[in-house]
């Protein structure tokens, strides 16, 4: 349990087999997690490239870097890639895949071959989207609103729509695997009330993936059919209803944002108790709040449509429900805070990301309430206020959680420690860069700058310049971990089994773990987060 270094000669999942075939045909959930890590990181950079184009154009009020059409493509593809090819798979497909079997004491997920299939589906969809990109891209906005997408756009809507349709199945299969695994594969003694909150959150996420994704699948299929066969079901001049499209689109896409945030909350629920050396305050409430977010999250979708023409009564109902959905999220924030209270806090890299998450998610969540308020939304809908809101929750929230999780479990995944000083520096740079990028957007949005416009009145320039400056700092913050994590694979200190002295079954096996996770199936007789029985982590580990 002390800092006895693990020799890399010992057989683990990384060196069990060599060769490209052993990776491309693997059914080991840990290897599949790494395959996903590579692919989603690639798409993160493609999506980031489009963000760069957007922020460069917006440095000046005039539309001088690119044409309006090109700008439309830039923000569309930035959004679609980041949402569908990065954020939605990110934590579940990488950390969820890697950790869930270990956390419940199983040898693998319930359906290992389906797990591999889900990655291939992701790759196929990604290739189709890249083909769309290479042949001219798509300019409908990430939301594919009809009738522009179904009739008037001259871009590759069909390819983009089909790509997202296909990647949805990757999501569905991942969710299926997780749900069945958690129900059927828990080790002896691992009851529901002893599950790590990471597993509870991913379970809730999987429910959303299963029940929501099919709707976007059929909706995009209908758009593709409409375009290809000139049907008219979304064309108002032929009796079609564009608002129907929006109902169907948002019925998935709103719960999708909870698919993006719940796994991140899962990570925070693991990091906070570990670096406060205290069990989670109100475990039951945190677990229940995950389920509540998933359930209530399905009831709020039309808050994206307040000004689209839905009835006033309907808007009132959805506004009220949108206020309700904030409650379970707030429960989590309160409980994390209470966990830290009178704990023994250490400012390790994962904990810095967790602090960043809690603050930024709170701002993002509260501004969501502003948007849920009908009267306010009328004014700020389709402005940069909305953009700032969702970037606060998706980047300040979800991505911070993702990075925190990557760092927290990096020793387990790679068998190496990352350089702690660089880790902390990068976390701070990300936090500062993020706020500089997106806080001005709240202001300029409130002042009236519309979203999706490639030129704007000169009085908004100062905010845009600040935002672009922040984006360049944020980019540095994202690049740093790429460099030092890769560096650590070769030169990092060898990681012990449990460098953070964390609870959880994954820390009871070696770093990296053997292919079948445990030498012997564990038998669980303790509750989750029994930090009062754990020794403090090694000074050396924390102060590297």
């Amino acid at each position: 349990m002390a800092t006895a270094a693990v020799t890399t000669e010992r057989k683990n999942y990384l060196n069990a087999e060599y060769g490209i075939r052993s990776w491309l045909l693997t059914t080991d959930h840990k290897r599949i997690a790494l395959l996903y890590l590579l692919s989603i990181t690639f798409f993160f950079f493609v999506g980031g490239f489009f963000a760069l184009l957007i922020r460069l154009e917006l440095l000046t009020p005039a539309g001088d870097l690119m044409t309006a059409d090109m700008y439309n493509k830039a923000f569309t593809m930035h959004g679609q890639i980041m949402v569908f090819f990065f954020l939605i798979p990110s934590i579940p497909a990488v950390l969820g895949n890697f950790l869930i079997p270990m956390m419940i004491g199983a040898k693998d997920l319930a359906f290992p071959r389906i797990n591999l299939l889900s990655w291939y589906i992701y790759v196929a969809a990604g290739l189709l989207y890249l083909y769309c990109l290479a042949t001219g891209g798509v300019d409908t906005g990430w939301t594919f609103y009809t009738p522009y997408s179904s009739l008037f756009s001259n871009t590759h809507v069909v390819e983009a729509g089909l790509a997202i349709f296909i990647v949805g199945f990757s999501s569905i299969l991942t969710g299926l695997n997780f749900v069945v695994t958690v129900h059927r594969m828990r080790a002896p003694g691992m009851t529901w009330s002893r599950l790590p909150l990471f597993v509870w959150s991913h379970y809730a996420t999987s429910i959303i993936m299963l029940l929501g994704t099919p709707i976007i699948a059929i909706t995009l299929l209908l758009v593709v059919l409409e375009r290809a066969l000139n049907l008219g079901i979304f064309d108002p001049s032929r009796g079609g209803d564009p608002v129907l499209f929006q109902h169907l689109f948002w019925f998935y896409s709103h719960p999708a944002v909870y698919i993006m945030i719940l796994p991140s909350m899962a990570v925070i629920s693991e990091i906070v108790p570990c670096f406060s050396r205290k069990r989670v305050f109100g475990y039951t409430f945190v677990a229940a709040s995950s389920i509540a977010i998933a359930a209530i999250g399905f009831l709020v979708w039309a808050h994206h449509m307040f000004v689209a023409g839905i009835s006033l009564y309907s808007a009132l109902v959805f506004s009220f429900l949108s206020f309700m959905v904030a409650i379970p999220s707030a429960v989590k924030v309160f409980n994390w805070t209470a966990t830290m209270y009178k704990g023994s806090i250490s400012f390790s890299t994962p904990m810095l990301y967790a602090f960043g998450f809690i603050g930024l998610f709170t701002i993002g969540g509260l501004t969501g309430l502003f948007l849920a308020t009908l009267g306010v939304d009328v004014h700020v809908h389709d402005t940069y206020f909305v953009i700032a809101h969702f970037h606060y929750v998706m980047v300040g929230g979800a991505v911070m959680g993702y990075l925190g999780g990557i760092h927290f479990w990096w020793p387990k995944i790679s068998g190496r420690m990352y350089p702690e000083a660089w880790g902390r520096l990068a976390a701070v740079i990300v936090f500062l860069g993020f706020n500089l990028t997106f806080f001005p957007q709240f202001i300029v949005g409130y002042l009236g700058m519309p979203r999706r416009y490639w030129q704007y009145p000169p009085e908004f320039q100062v905010y845009n310049v600040l935002s672009t400056a922040g984006a360049s700092i944020l980019a540095v913050g994202y690049l740093l971990p790429m460099v030092y994590l890769l560096w650590s694979l070769r030169y990092g200190k060898l990681a012990p089994d449990n460098p953070w002295q964390a609870t959880g079954l994954e820390w009871k096996t070696t770093s990296p773990p053997p292919t079948f996770n445990f030498e012997e199936t564990p038998v669980v007789t303790w509750e989750a987060y029994e930090y009062e029985t754990m020794p403090m982590p090694d000074e050396v580990t924390l102060e590297r």
């Binding site: 695994t181 099919p214 008219g232 032929r238 129907l244």
Partner: protein, 240 residues
């Protein structure tokens, strides 16, 4: 080892040698079977939502364009629809009997019943194809020289809008088309299962693939059980 609570621990090595179909990450066949079953039920849940999206579109437009929907519905062949519904019910019977045959270890009966199921499935697709061809001939297939003027003329009192009628047919083809796709996939799955059954791969102890393929098939039948009244029986009252 036998006093461990939880998902069921058994002497792993013995179990895995005895039961070659048992995959390494499962503790025993019971766990494997329960996992497969739960997986298929969840998948069917996703399929309910998948078809459900189209049902939502159908519902919205039927409320808005009832006369056109009713006229379009009446133009579908009641006989073909009813017969097809019966065909699928027969196929569900043969699937249920096939599962039973596998539970009792009756290989020849099992293979015959599986073949019968596929036969009924192909019959369904044949009748459906005939209907579609007929609709195409009458210019009721969207995109293929769609023309609903015949319906407009045959229902002078209703003052039908031809474009709204096209929406009915678009949804009709989308719904029955996606359903037919699922039938084709089902027949494909059953052909593999039938081959495996013929080769004697199933026993009373192990016939999980038949059970879960059967669940999928029954689901496709249930979708049609709803599609039939929603598409064919909108308003067939005399005088309508």
């Amino acid at each position: 080892m036998s006093d461990r609570a939880g998902t069921g621990e058994s002497p792993l090595v013995l179990e895995h040698e005895d039961r070659p179909e048992l995959r390494h990450h499962f503790a025993d066949v019971v766990q494997q079977r329960n996992a497969a079953s739960l997986g298929m039920w969840w998948f069917l849940g996703t399929e309910i939502m998948f078809f459900g999206g189209m049902f939502c579109g159908y519902l919205v437009y039927r409320r808005a364009y009832f006369p056109e929907f009713a006229a379009g519905s009446r133009s579908l062949s009641l006989v073909a629809g009813t017969v097809n519904t019966a065909v699928l019910i027969c196929s569900s019977l043969t699937v249920a009997l096939a599962v039973r045959a596998s539970q009792l270890g009756k290989r020849k009966l099992l293979v015959s019943l599986l073949l019968a199921t596929m036969f009924f499935g192909v019959c369904f697709l044949g009748i459906k194809g005939y209907e579609w061809h007929d609709e195409y001939e009458h210019h009721h297939a969207p995109t293929f020289y769609f023309n609903a003027q015949d319906l407009v003329h045959n229902n002078p009192n209703l003052h039908l809008d031809p474009q709204r009628t096209k929406i009915f047919f678009s949804l009709y083809f989308a719904l029955t088309g996606v359903h037919a796709l699922h039938m084709i996939v089902g027949i494909g799955i059953f052909s593999v299962i039938t081959f495996m059954a013929w080769r004697g791969k199933f026993t009373p102890e192990y016939h999980t693939p038949i059970e879960i393929a059967g669940l999928y098939w029954h689901f496709v039948d249930i979708v049609w059980i709803y599609l039939f009244p929603l598409l064919y029986l909108i308003d067939r009252r005399p005088g309508a």
